[in-house]
Amino acid sequence: MAEAIAFYTLAAFILGFAVLVVTTKDTVHSVLFLVLDFLFVAALYVLLNAPFLAVIQVLVYAGGIVVLYLFVVMLVNLKRPPEAHQDPHRLSKLGFGLAGAVLIELGAILMSGYLKAPPAAAATPAVLPVVGNTEQVGWLLYTRYLIPFEIASMLLLVAMIGAIVLAKREL
């Protein structure tokens, strides 16, 4: 019961801040609402008994990536009024199209078996030789999900090299 109350309160805040992120006129305020949103998502992870994920969420997203967003937004100064659109409805039509596609996708997932048979792997967590949230995350990353993990780190390395190549005039 208490868990349900906590979940719906957090979910309401997350959705509310998410709406504010896209509706606020001032871009810096919008980024700040994004930070609040990430903090509440971290609280949701705590509720799910995943403290490691919660802390990493704050460290990487709220404390790391969004700071860089804020730098970009502050330095390019988006405060001047936007120029008039040619067709004000063009973008909203696209938005409705995309939203409809996501809705259909979610519906398809829901129909195609999630309701009929709950996935067995998720229902019974694998027995791990280590205890503790952090240890379990580490164990899974370096055993079952080793290859995706390595691919993700390669991707980050490539992105890093790309940024250096872009930023440096002559190598």
């Binding site: 001032d26 810096v28 305020h29 700040l32 930070v35 903090l39 403290p51 490691f52 802390v55 990493i56 704050v58 460290l59 709220a62 404390g63 790391g64 700071v67 804020l70 730098f71 502050m74 503790g132 949230n133 952090t134």
Partner: protein, 340 residues
């Protein structure tokens, strides 16, 4: 009921109040120590030898007019001092002042909570604190605060990398992220981690000086270049909050250094039977004593060293400290694997 609510609430109240008093007296300590270093007396007028000076300062700052610049971003301008103060205070939730002790017929732990991601919690909360500085500079809508806040946040982000890497070396030694667990690991290892990880400790200390915007890395407050710093447009208590946050951060960093590298609440040589009389001194006193040494060193460094130039600061961070921290981490890993 009492175990679940009353005791934690009491602990939070005691820690918060002790911290705030400590922070305000840190200002007096700083003024006194720097005065002695410069052959002056420091504040002497309010109370005997000026011991009531922080209270007089607080009253003065509270009574001052609180000005918001006309062109400022009002909401963000108000929130910025709060954003820099709150992370500095909530970090104390995981700092262990002592082990579980018997108090009034109950087992009471001398820490608010011991979560199993304690160290990561401290790092992540500290990383949120940077918003206070960035937003203060941005919301003032004035060029010098903006420049100062960009400097401050670039500095924070750069040195955070090196500091976090040294923490990973400590985690490798202790095998746990819990702050209490790290102290216990030092008890079981019969040695403070500062002696097995001296490189990590030195990098951690230098990085902490930079992260708390202290001399010789106090570029965000370089008066000659920036007419003050990111808080130029602030006045009254809101101005004071930035300084209180800075001092609170210094105390946090000192406590973390004590816990990670100097055995936290452990007395010197906890396994030597001949020194058992030292157990008469309560564990939290050892913790406070060790932290106090760090606070003193912070002030001592400020009174001694001149300020770095900005390019020197960045070069030191990226080209010296981070490679050194990575090398230390790799070496620690190799030694750990070889010995096991």
């Amino acid at each position: 009921m009492i175990e679940q609510f009353v005791i934690p609430t009491l602990k939070i109240l005691i820690v918060l109040n002790a911290t705030l008093v400590g922070v305000s007296y840190m200002t007096l300590l700083e003024r006194k120590v720097i005065a002695w270093a410069q052959s002056r007396l420091g504040p002497m007028r309010v109370g005997p030898s000026g011991v009531l000076q922080p209270i007089a300062d607080a009253v003065k700052l509270l009574l001052k007019e609180d000005i918001t610049p006309t062109k400022a971003d009002r909401w963000v301008f108000t929130a910025a001092p709060v954003i820099s103060m709150v992370p500095a205070l909530i970090v104390y939730a995981v700092i262990p002042f002592g082990p579980v002790v018997r108090l009034f017929g109950r087992d009471v732990s001398l820490y608010i909570t011991d979560i199993n991601v304690g160290l990561l919690y401290i790092v992540s909360v500290a990383s949120v604190g940077v918003y206070g500085i960035i937003l203060a500079g941005y919301a003032s809508n004035s060029k010098f605060p903006l420049l100062a806040s960009l400097r401050a946040s670039a500095q924070l982000i750069s040195y955070e990398v090196a500091v976090t890497l040294t923490l990973v070396s400590v985690i490798l030694m202790s095998g746990t992220l819990s702050m209490v667990g790290i102290v216990n690991a030092q008890y079981n290892a019969h040695v403070w981690f500062a002696f097995v990880q001296p490189v990590a400790f030195v990098i951690f200390f230098i990085g902490s000086l930079a992260e708390t915007n202290r001399a010789p890395f106090d570029l965000p407050e370089a008066e000659q270049e920036l007419t003050g710093g990111f808080h130029t447009e602030y006045s009254g208590m809101r101005f004071a909050l930035f300084f209180l946050a800075e001092y609170a951060n210094i105390i946090v960093v000192s406590s973390v250094a004590t816990t990670l590298f100097f055995g936290g609440w452990l007395r010197p040589f906890p396994h030597v039977a001949a020194l058992h009389f030292l157990d008469l001194i309560p564990s939290w006193t050892w913790f406070l004593l060790k932290s106090f040494v760090f606070l003193y060193i912070f002030i001592w460094v400020r009174a001694t060293l001149p300020r770095y130039r900005y390019d020197q600061l960045m070069r030191l961070g990226w080209k010296v400290l981070i490679p050194l921290a990575i090398a230390n981490l790799v070496l620690t890993g190799i030694v750990k694997v070889m010995l096991l």
